[in-house]
Amino acid sequence: MDAAAQFAERIRAADGGERALRLRGGGSKDFYGGALVGEVLDTREHRGIVAYEPTELVITARCGTPLAEIEAALAAQGQCLPFEPPHFGAGASLATVGGVVAAGLSGPRRAAVGAVRDFVLGVQLLDGVARRLTFGGQVMKNVAGYDVSRLMAGSLGTLGLILEVSLKVLPRPVAEATLRFDLPQAQAIEAMNAWAGQPLPISATCWQDGVLTVRLSGARAAVAAACRKLGGDLVDEGAAFWEALRQQRLDFFAGGEILQRLALPSVAPPLDLPGAQLIEWGGSQRWWRGDAAAARQAASRAGGHATSFRGGDKSAGVFQPLPAPLMQIHRRLKAAFDPRGVFNPGRLYPDLST
């Protein structure tokens, strides 16, 4: 029996209570989201790249395929996953591609090129009653039926077990350069927004402690022209910095206190929160250490939302509560895909299954 058939059997034998299932790849993002409940269903048995043709700009892989394996295959052909998903895991807890999609987390290049969901082209999944379903496909343009594939991105395994996923890939940028500017927070936010309105090849930004770091990626001529135009100090160890940011290995991310992720309109002025902040995505993603209530209040006032990303007490829920009409749609969707509530209970919202 192949792994997918075994998964289906596990799903059929599961229920929404004692025998719920906790879908898990490498476990590199176990820290993320709500409660970890249920018997572990380890997806890593179902692994391997199914199809990859560089000229089609698509890779299709089974859920348990290590992200590192996919990135190596792409790099060998001069291509990449443009949304730079964080791995976060190492050793025995290597990130898998199924987890990348289910977690829906994107890295430094997100504001420039899009998020995980923007690159998902198709999925094959097992729903909550073990039906094997295929949505989307391997082509860039596809409007046949609702976009269920993209719905899976960030659904934290609460709708189905992703068996296989097809992702759009892109050529790696020919040239990159990293620049640094000494700028206070308010001016850095202004600068990031002003530059984003100009045809500049900015692929990532990061502000912390009075220093704005900017990455340029693209054709050689474009990167060189942008360096001349923007000024700043050229940084030699740029690639290492962006990799550390992507994997949250910068000093800012060390420490035990709860880490809040605030997603805001990029133009939101500096937030009135005590302590240090780190800003990414041209101003749209801001990190802060502190309690959920303060983060949510500040985020809501600025037109966004906050997530208790890592560490600390999760009893208040990890994700900001939804307005009632949206929560009702969420519950109905959950019931549509997983009527018995067998997948990852409480991982997204505690009261998703009714």
Binding site: V143, V148, P325
Partner: protein, 503 residues
Amino acid sequence: MNATSHRRHGAERDQDFGDVDRPGLLAALAAVVPPANLLVDGEDLKPYECDGLSAFRQVPLAVVLAENEGQVAAVLGICHRLGAPVVARGAGTGLSGGALPHGQGIVLSLAKMKRILHLDPVARVAVVEPGVRNLAISEAAAPHGLYYAPDPSSQIACSIGGNVAENAGGVHCLKYGLTVHNVLRVRGVTVEGEIVELGSQALDVPGYDLLALMIGSEGLLAVVTEVTVKLVPKPETARVVMASFDDVTKAGDAVAAIIAAGIIPAGLEMMDKPATAAVEPFVNAGYDLDAEAILLCESDGTPEEVEEEIGRMRAVLEGCGATGIRVSADEAERLKFWAGRKAAFPAAGRISADYYCMDGTIPRKRLGDMLRAIAGMEKKYGLRCINVFHAGDGNLHPLILYDANVPGELERTEAFGADILALSVKLGGTVTGEHGVGAEKLGGMCVQFDGEELSTFHRVKAAFDPAGLLNPGKAVPSLHRCAEFGRMHVHAGELKFPDIERF
């Protein structure tokens, strides 16, 4: 008991709305919109009987022209209470019959809601009403050096609400993405009258990505009342390379070779010989009429970047056996090269009484296979077909030429189209890349999806619209319809809908 309480959306059969209380419906609607905004007479309803797919026609019970979100909510509330179907409509330029009226329901036109509510050049967003034309957004953003990237060929007329409904693309989406990549937030009203906001000006929201579900949902989930779009900087310059080939397969291979070279062109389009022959007298674009196929390959960015990239494109195209290469010398020439491509549909209308536009997408490497197969189908059905492709993303628009007044031609055309779509699925693609399923490709959906997948789509609809009143019968076929269609995909010898009665 209201009519909705006994009505539930399901996967098995199309619902019967024969019991809608027409006088009661009209009286209730008259109470919530001004008299001039409620059309009930045959002559007034006639212009709404079809959208851009004129082969499908149906007069609705009434047309309501909503002026604001309050009216939309009130109209939906009434239809929900009385169990009447609602078909939302923007500019009516859709090509798949998505806005085809329902005979027992109303058309809810959003064409009067055409204000640009807010344009923020610093945040690079525009908040617009659904009836705003696609091109009007870019025009409003132009003074700030910004534009809205998706540019469907109908952009001069089509509205953003319709673009959201169809997940519209265009000739630049290989590099700049589809509607789903360029819309940040949609505000809308559910048929139950709830105002919902999907997505956000922040780059994400907590919970499921309902925005992704909403975009391309063909008016089946909610009615759009406001859209926040992303504006992006206009490239400093753009130039286009026009390459001629003496063989369509070579042209198809050149498309793959460009991608393999690590180039993502701003646009990459292909036209075959019959297509260039059709458009050239119409626009004088300067196309090579001896070529079996031409490619239009655009580069944009800074002048230095474009210069560099054009050089790389030229080298790849020459290496693939291009028989001629021209690079646009200036903006006027660039627009002329594109004018022919954008005029392909009207040109087809000029050389043929009628034409039927297909919209399959296939993996790029199969372009040559598809073109050869279409040539065979032309003989089989005794009809001509001209081919224009968004080659860069494998999206095909074969235009089958026919004359509806010749008995049997429409039927042959439809069979021809069904063959192309079935082959698109077989080659690993889809029946619709950007025009939508609408009323037109329901049969194709039965080929592409099995009963369990279709049932899942129906459950997704029911999560937003439990009574099944928004654009019923479109986009996702009932299982019964697939059984009747009888040409469904038989996978590995298994019948897909064994439990459904057949006729």
